[in-house]
């Protein structure tokens, strides 16, 4: 459990960080809390030559409002997300999902941006970013660009970020209207990764669901948006309709098979949990 040797740089501004990353070259890794990277290093599953630690880049931390959008600095820690009034008010789904991430120690070190950039499909927050139509702001030598969540998660542990780019912030549109939300996480022990997770946000109009956003955790090599369920839910006004729509939750997904669950079990869980998440989000009790 001793990592291989590496060089370490700790810039204090984003510009310095971008420069440091470019200088370090392709074998560099960004340290953004370290709750995934450090174990990987200790197990000698990765051999980066340089670690660029973003921990001292203050401008990457904090939450602000930009018109209809919440802007969350990439280095904002999970524990800060949990306590932030803006996020609580306008992106409650993120708070609910963040509260299920690992344990308090991890939540005090791990960062929102770090979790998204790591792009582990078993991570809880990517499905939320997807469901909330988040935009990810990347900073690189060529300047700043914005990537939609639907285009950000490319494959298992792979994002649309280029090796010289740093995830700077995440922009989450405020939900307008009467939205309800629920993150249903299914894991064997509280601190474990989700076997399956479902992030659901629904807007109701006149007692029926008018709009639904559903992201799935650990149902493929990336987080997945359950679009067939979303469209089937429109107009649903009772539990039976919700469950009928949830039956297609696993359609088009390719869940993994591992010690925690075979693919068919995960598909089943996705259907059950989607039904529960939507019902809870829509205030329909079973």
């Amino acid at each position: 459990m001793i990592p291989p040797a590496f060089d370490y740089v700790a810039p204090t501004t984003l510009a310095e960080a971008v420069a440091a990353l470019r200088e370090a070259g392709e074998d560099a890794k960004i340290l953004a809390g370290g709750q995934s990277l450090i174990p990987v290093l200790r197990l000698r599953l990765a051999f980066p030559t340089v670690l660029v630690d973003l921990g001292r880049v203050d401008e990457l931390r904090g939450v602000s409002e930009d018109a209809g959008t919440i802007v969350i600095g990439a280095m904002t820690r999970h524990s800060e997300v949990l306590e932030d009034p803006l996020i609580q008010q306008h992106a409650g789904l993120l708070v609910e999902a963040t509260a299920t991430v690992a344990d308090p120690a991890v939540r005090h070190r791990g960062t929102f941006g770090g979790a998204l950039a790591h792009a582990d499909p078993a991570g809880d927050l990517a499905a939320v970013a997807l469901a909330l139509d988040a935009e990810l702001v990347a900073e690189g030598p060529g300047g700043r660009r914005t990537i939609r969540a639907s285009e950000f998660f490319v494959d298992y542990l792979e994002t649309a970020l280029s090796p010289d780019e740093i995830l700077a912030a995440v922009r989450i549109p405020k939900l307008e209207g009467s939205w309800g939300y629920r993150y249903e996480k299914f894991s064997r022990v509280a601190q474990a990764w989700a076997i399956v997770g479902v992030a659901a946000a629904v807007r109701k109009e006149g007692g029926a669901i008018a709009e639904a956003r559903i992201g799935l955790t650990n149902m493929g090599s990336t987080p997945v948006r359950a679009t067939p369920v979303e469209s089937a839910l429109v107009g649903a006004s009772d539990l039976a309709a919700v469950q009928a729509a949830a039956a297609s939750a696993a359609d088009g997904t390719s869940p993994p098979s591992d010690l925690s669950g075979q693919a068919d079990y995960r598909a089943h869980l996705a259907r059950v949990l989607t039904g529960r998440a939507v019902a809870a989000a829509a205030g329909m009790s079973s």
Binding site: I2, A5, L43, Q191
Partner: protein, 837 residues
């Protein structure tokens, strides 16, 4: 004040600090719920873990481990590692072959047991993933870790042997080719009447239930991994070995035997040790290697285990297949029990590996009266990490099997499971009771414990809720599980261990030293690794000698300062070590009384002792405190003629019998039939551990034990793939439950004193672990029985339960581990399901 002045006069003109002398003993120490005196140090980090130890010139050792389950070692080349800056030495197994010796197994259970050579570093073959192949020694642990990657090993792969049943089938590949078999031993044990004859004699009246249970392999997961530091004094050929071990005394003997270094030249210190659960009751390769390398280099050596290594190279627990058959008459009277056991030894025999299932052999009949018992165990070698003692060590396995099959028998007979137990258990007035397995249970009151548990649990209310949920086909079903367990503690009477071919005795040593100021130093051979020995021992001594709790200092874990001992395992510390201390205090008191009589110029028979004060019958003003006697003994100015001027004593206590704690645990689970998830709704335990020295410590042991047993029932499983790789090699995949996963434990006690020792104590270290696994699994089965489900293997994972509910045993996990036994589709007819109450 007069006490102090008297003491001052005896000692001469020395001005005492007021705190240096004792306050009177307030009484009531035995049974008092004191907070542990160990904890302030632990929670503030002022600890001395083995890994905290640093010494001038310390070198760091790292072990290169086999990535293959079974292979011939073609070559090991350490030359590139040796060229790395900071690397001091590197050795292959062949390099150390002459001095490394063989790791010991102290329990040859049969005369013809196959006992393969177990070199600390493999020389010719590796036999499990994690088997040591080479060591490197460097100036820092980072360099040592890097240097491991520079060691080149060429392997020639041999067939892995993963499955126990395949291992003993004809034509199986062999773990130890030169032994000609994978069978380590066959251990038959027939006790009482013949099982077959008894069942045959009952004819049509006999009801027989058979089941196969799998005790999955478990990883002990002590919070502190292992570690060792060896400090040599080269010129004197003397060695101090610091080790995160449960057994410094046994380790000292064994290191001497393995390496040939004189026992008197080895000092073993177990500093603060962070948990063991049996996994540190062993003699490990790294302990021997660190010693051998320190001797070679004449430099201190440290090795600290990582969690990944801990899961590969520290012993594993359980791993048995149990074929159990129980017979009763139609009216529910038990006739007998037949058990056929396969026990996985792993690749080699560690210290007591073969003895674990044998300990269990005596516990299958549990608390039940029956006349016939047939037991047979086959020990099997596989290319996996060796197994050995893990909390309960044989007894949880046995208890699980009997408690599960009692429920199955109840279903077969259409009886309430608790009612069936009551019909067959030993009634409290029948103690002492000679069990069919040959043990004599000295005391117990199963009725009282069960009655109390039932009261705490609201059994009737939960049964009513269960019926409502069943009738309404609620997606969440309720199950109720019972475990009326006993166990054997206080390991062990030496003559019994001898009759079982164990290589040592089961006594424990204690020493009391009264210091001049009246403080008391106590040495104990029982070595703590988290239990709270120092608190409990202080309470025993304070109560016996009538001195304040804070005046007692306990010295443990160092073969220099507490030189004799048999260490800590098998819930033996209080029952054997505590009694040894109690008996040592009696010797001190006896002598102190003679001195007091002399000082008070009274006849010894006229001296009374209470709360630390000797007084003369009929003359209450004539008295001496025990502290005054201690100071007078130190001064030695006025002692009886010929008396040794000391107030010390030694006692080595060898128990006459085991002790038999028991209890009734009741568990209610909710099973989400849509996901298969099991949630423990309620958990009630009533334990009878005899007299209690410290109820807070007892409760802590029960809590931790229940949690660990729940771990086996629902969460933990060491899974190997077909190639012999441990696929649950980290805490990400090996799920140990934590506080959020566990229910509130409602604990209660009844107190039926042991009659086999003067303190009346029985031991509590393993009770919770033994009791809780069957309680939880019986609850799971109780919930699922209406669906026609007969047996879910442990751990009852959500996926297993879901597959059982949906009639699919397909989709076994990729490792090819055994899936479900006996799963079938929903049975709408239902059955008694143990819910008749």
């Amino acid at each position: 004040m007069t006490d102090q002045m008297d003491a001052g006069l005896v000692a001469g003109e020395i001005a005492e600090h007021p705190d240096a002398l004792s306050k009177p003993y307030a009484g009531g120490e035995l049974g008092r719920g004191r907070r542990r005196k160990e904890d302030a140090k632990l929670v503030t980090g002022q600890t001395n873990w083995t890994d905290n130890i640093t010494l001038p010139g310390l070198l760091h050792m790292a072990v290169l481990r086999s990535p293959m389950a079974h292979a011939r070692i073609v070559s090991v080349d350490v030359s590139a590692a040796l060229e790395m800056p900071g690397v001091i030495a590197a050795y292959s197994g062949a390099d150390l072959a002459e001095e490394q010796g063989a790791l010991p197994c102290a329990w040859p259970v049969t005369a013809d047991m196959v006992h393969p050579d177990h070199p600390p570093l493999a020389v010719d073959e590796v036999r499990y993933v994690g088997d040591g192949v080479a060591v490197v020694v460097a100036r820092d642990r980072y360099t040592a870790a890097d240097a491991l990657e520079a060691v080149a090993v060429e392997y020639e792969q041999l067939p892995p042997v993963v499955d126990m049943e395949a291992a003993i089938a004809e034509g199986a590949s062999l773990v130890h080719g030169d032994k000609g078999t994978n069978v380590c031993f066959r251990w038959p044990f027939a006790s009482g009447d013949s099982y077959a004859d008894t069942v045959a004699a009952a004819g049509d009246d006999a009801v027989v239930v058979k089941r196969r249970f799998r005790q999955q392999r478990l990883l002990p997961t002590a919070m502190e991994p292992r570690g060792v530091v060896v400090a040599p004094i080269a010129a004197a050929d003397e060695y101090t070995v610091y080790s995160a071990t449960q057994i410094p005394h046994i380790l000292r003997v064994m290191l001497a035997l393995v390496t040939g270094i004189g026992e008197h030249k080895i000092r073993v210190i177990a500093p603060d040790v962070g948990g063991g659960f049996g996994s540190k009751l062993n003699v490990y390769a790294e302990e021997v290697l660190a010693l051998v390398v320190a001797k070679r280099l004449g430099r201190p050596i440290k090795w600290t285990e990582s969690r990944s290594e801990n899961y590969q190279a520290t012993i594993h627990g359980r791993d048995q297949i149990q074929d159990i058959e129980i017979a009763a008459t139609k009216d529910g009277t038990l006739l007998g029990l037949k058990v056929e056991l396969l026990a996985d030894m792993g690749a080699y025999l560690q210290l007591v590996t073969p003895g674990i299932p044998i300990l269990g052999a005596f516990m299958f009949p549990a608390i039940y009266k029956m006349k016939a018992y047939d037991f047979h165990c086959t020990g099997v070698f596989t290319t996996k990490t060796p197994t050995d003692a893990y909390r309960g060590a044989g007894r949880p396995e046995a208890t699980y099997a009997i408690e599960r099959i009692m429920d199955e028998l109840a279903v077969e007979l259409g009886r309430d499971p608790l009612d069936l137990r009551k019909q067959n258990w030993i009634a409290h007035e029948e103690f002492p009771y000679d069990m069919v397995a040959g043990l004599t249970y000295d005391s117990g009151n199963y009725e009282a414990a069960t009655e109390k548990a039932e009261q705490m649990f609201d059994l009737a209310g939960l049964r009513a809720e269960q019926k409502r949920r069943r009738d309404s086909k609620d997606p969440v079903q309720l199950g109720i599980g019972i475990s009326t367990f006993t166990e054997m503690c206080g390991l062990a009477p030496s003559r019994v261990l001898g009759s079982l071919s164990y290589g040592a005795g089961g006594w424990e040593a204690a020493q009391i030293r009264m210091l001049p100021t009246g403080k008391v130093e106590v040495t104990s051979g029982a070595t703590p690794h988290g239990q709270g020995h120092h608190t409990a021992w202080s309470q025993i001594v304070a109560d016996a000698l009538g001195v304040p709790f804070d005046d007692v200092e306990i010295i443990t874990g160092d073969t220099d300062s507490s030189p004799k001992g048999m260490d800590t395992y098998g819930s033996r510390s209080l029952v054997v070590g505590g009694v040894a201390i109690h008996k040592a205090t009696a010797k001190v008191l006896e002598k102190a009384k003679r001195i007091a009589a002399h000082l008070l110029e009274a006849a010894e028979d006229d001296i009374e002792f209470a709360r630390g004060t000797f007084s003369v019958k009929g003359s209450p003003e004539a008295k001496k405190t025990i502290q005054e006697v201690a100071l007078a003994t130190f001064a030695a100015h006025n002692l009886p003629d010929g008396m040794e001027p000391s107030l010390d004593s030694d006692y080595v206590y060898d128990p006459e019998n085991f002790s038999y704690p028991h209890g009734t645990h009741l568990c209610a689970v909710e099973i989400d039939t849509e996901t298969g998830f099991t949630k423990i709704r309620r958990y009630v335990s009533v334990d009878d551990v005899g007299k209690v020295v410290n109820p807070v410590i007892v409760q802590g042991q029960v809590h931790g034990g229940i949690a660990q047993g729940i771990g086996q029932a629902l969460y933990e499983d060491a899974v190997y793939d077909a190639e012999g790789n441990l696929t649950t090699g980290s805490l990400v995949d090996y799920l140990v439950p934590a506080a959020p996963d566990l229910p509130h434990f409602e604990t209660g006690r009844t107190e039926t004193p042991a009659t086999s020792n003067p303190l009346g104590v029985k031991g509590v270290g393993e009770a919770g672990t033994i009791a809780s696994t069957p309680a939880v699994m019986n609850a799971v089965h109780d919930a699922l029985r209406p669906y026609g489900i007969r047996d879910i293997e442990m751990p009852a994972t959500p996926e297993r339960v879901w597959r059982a509910l949906h009639g699919s045993s397909a989709g076994r996990d990729p490792s090819g581990t055994v899936g479900l036994l006996g799963a079938s589709g929903p049975d709408t007819a239902g059955n008694a399901a143990g819910g008749a109450a």
